[in-house]
């Protein structure tokens, strides 16, 4: 066994260039497989992670016919849904408008979110992790009080670096209408969900106000076309979605009209996963072709090697090598050849994955399973494409082999 192993290595290293060229197909194939697996897995887990952050337990309820602004979802609906659907924790409209915000010191563009008091739980940007002050309450919502919660970054920009701006006044203007609001709270800026969309210079200020207040700037916002819902657990998503749609359909006499739809981030995640999976499969197929080509290269070179070493095989048989001994010897050689190719491919693949991943700003993930898979796979290629030449060698007639010039 050990002697066989050494013989195989000897003959591989005796023709370094030839062996290397033979391995090239396998090297390229394995490099591609490893790099794709690593980057693909890294990207998938990154996206999965982001989506879980964004709220796997979030449902977005919307009206499919958005062109017609009508009261398909009313504020009263929200309250009814919250009261009658058990697992529904929070529900708030998703209204927003983009306008200009002015303080005594400067002005900026603004994105103002309008919702119920549940907005603090359903909105990613204006979450209720307050640094100063408080969120608006039910009374302020009911009475459309001119109050707002502002993001920490926004406060800094508008008030010359000050953060504790509770009690200050700001002005929002939208299409010629203006509204003066009192700041009642400052939230910690939630970087993750917004960074990437805006650079620091153009970053708008984010504020949250009662929807009722925001409606004075744009009455159309009262026609809710999109609502965000939080449930306590992922498992409740389906049942809550169904109950909401059913309830709205009944209340608005639209049963069977397919007017309402409830979607969840997990569903989008599945879609992204399947697109990514498709991509990975495609590249894997390309890599598989490279491996087959590499395997044929191995087979070819092994056939050449068997022919070149016909006399050697004859001699070995004369010295007592059995058919199986010869078979095993040549099989070992092709397996080692493929395996070395596989290991080189593994190393190159990891390097490539790291390069690509750092360019794409993701963390490549190379699992021990993938490494074992690659090693097994390249051995399998060696066996599969090595068996024919090895059998050919093993079945040589000793006399003819010895007589071969």
């Amino acid at each position: 066994m050990k002697a066989n192993f050494k013989m195989a290595l000897d003959s591989i290293f005796a023709n370094k260039m030839r062996s290397f060229l033979t391995m090239l197909g396998i090297i390229i194939g394995i490099t591609a497989v490893i790099a794709i697996l690593a980057v693909g897995n890294g990207a998938t887990s990154q996206i999965t992670g982001t989506f879980n952050d964004l709220g796997a337990s979030t449902i977005s309820l919307s009206v499919s016919d958005k062109a017609i602004k009508a009261d398909y979802i009313t504020k009263a609906d929200l309250q009814t849904m919250k009261d009658s659907i058990q697992k529904l924790d929070y529900i708030s409209p998703d209204a927003r408008l983009a306008g200009t915000i002015t303080s005594d010191f400067s002005d900026k563009s603004v994105i103002a979110y309008g919702g119920t008091t549940d907005l603090q739980f359903t909105n990613q940007t204006m979450k209720n992790n307050l640094v100063y002050g408080r969120y608006f309450n039910q009374n302020e919502y009911d009475d459309a009080k001119n109050v707002a919660v502002i993001s920490e970054d926004g406060a800094t920009v508008l008030f010359n670096g000050r953060k504790d701006v509770v009690g200050e006044k700001i002005n929002i203007s939208y299409r010629g209408t203006a509204l003066s609001l009192k700041i009642i709270g400052v939230t910690a800026s939630s970087q993750e969900s917004t960074v990437g969309f805006f650079d620091a210079e153009n970053m708008p200020v984010f504020i949250a106000t009662p929807l009722t207040t925001l409606e004075t700037l744009n009455p159309e916002l009262g026609n809710l076309d999109s609502v965000t819902v939080k449930v306590s657990s992922k498992d409740d998503i389906d049942s809550v979605s169904k109950q909401m749609v059913r309830l709205l359909e009944t209340r608005h006499e639209k049963v069977g009209d397919d007017l309402y739809s409830a979607t969840n981030f997990l569903q989008s995640l599945d879609q992204i996963d399947s697109v990514l999976g498709l991509f990975i499969n495609f590249i894997a197929a390309v890599a598989a072709i490279a491996l087959v080509v590499g395997g044929i290269g191995v087979m070819n070179i092994m056939l050449v090697s068997v022919t070149e070493r016909t006399r050697e095989i004859g001699t070995r048989k004369a010295l007592g090598a059995t058919t199986n001994t010869i078979l095993f010897q040549f099989l070992m050689e092709s397996v080692i050849l493929s395996l070395i190719g596989g290991i080189i491919g593994l190393v190159l693949g990891i390097l490539l994955a790291n390069g690509v991943a750092s360019a794409l700003d993701i963390v490549p993930s190379i699992t021990p399973g993938a490494v074992i898979l690659v090693l097994l796979f390249s051995s399998a290629v060696g066996i599969f494409f090595g068996i024919y030449p090895a059998r050919k060698a093993a079945k040589l007639d000793p006399i003819e082999a010895l007589r071969y010039e």
């Binding site: 002697a3 000897d10 048989k317 004369a318 007592g320 059995t322 001994t325 006399i399 010895l402």
Partner: protein, 230 residues
């Protein structure tokens, strides 16, 4: 040791039959040193291949060292070759990428001898042929005569019943031929049975018995009257 009875070997080539060996019977006892002679194409190599279990025959029987080896499977023949027969070829047939030591160890690899014992026994065999000092060299770093000595060491390392050599001096000059014949004589003196094909009458004079072939028939079989001892 060797008991061959009425052996016939026919080659079929393109519809034609060629009788390479015709009704050949031959006994060789333990400790003999026999040369097989005859003109080209007379069947000497065919005879050696059959004696060495490399080839099968069509009629007759063959008993080697008490074992009927007339119709063995490929694997059985391989084992008998490994244990009972040592081959020496005209063109040495050493493994080019293996060192001299590894070449001599090879038959023991097939006999599944442990690495340690392989090394010891290979060194003893190489000592017998006077090459114990060059064991790390590759075959292409030594002369033809030395190569043939390595081949002899390889042939005797499994202590076979019989040493078979097909024109072992065919590629060697006359001085080296004598060196090789001396090694055969020494091994024979130690009890090794040797069978050797040669077409040089001079070389046959160093052996004890000459068997002559012509057209596939054993024509003549006589003892060498005064073998030259080197």
């Amino acid at each position: 040791m060797i008991d061959l009875k009425n052996v016939k070997k026919i080659y079929h080539t393109g519809g034609e039959e060629l009788i390479a060996l015709n009704d050949v019977s031959l006994q060789i006892k333990k400790g003999e040193f026999t040369s097989i002679m005859g003109p080209s194409g007379s069947g000497k190599s065919t005879m050696m291949n059959i004696l060495g279990l490399l080839d099968r025959f069509d009629e007759g029987s063959y008993i080697l060292n008490g074992q009927n080896v007339s119709s063995l499977t490929d694997n059985e023949s391989a084992h008998v070759r490994n244990k009972e027969i040592g081959f020496v070829f005209q063109s040495f047939n050493l493994m080019p990428r293996m060192s001299i030591l590894e070449n001599v160890e090879l038959p023991m690899v097939y006999a599944k001898v442990s690495a340690k014992e392989r090394h010891e026994r290979a060194m003893i065999a190489l000592e017998k042929v006077g090459l114990a000092n060059r064991v790390k060299h590759k075959p292409n770093e030594i002369s033809g005569g030395q190569k043939q000595r390595v081949a002899i060491a390889r042939a005797i390392v499994n202590q076979p019943a019989v040493l078979m050599a097909d024109e072992p001096t065919g590629n060697l000059d006359s001085k080296t031929t004598l060196e090789i014949m001396k090694i055969f004589q020494d091994l024979n003196a130690d009890g090794t049975t040797v069978v050797m094909v040669t077409h040089e009458p001079d070389v046959a004079q160093y052996t004890k018995r000459i068997v002559s072939f012509k057209d596939g028939r054993l024509m003549d079989d006589q003892l060498v009257e005064n073998p030259i001892i080197l």
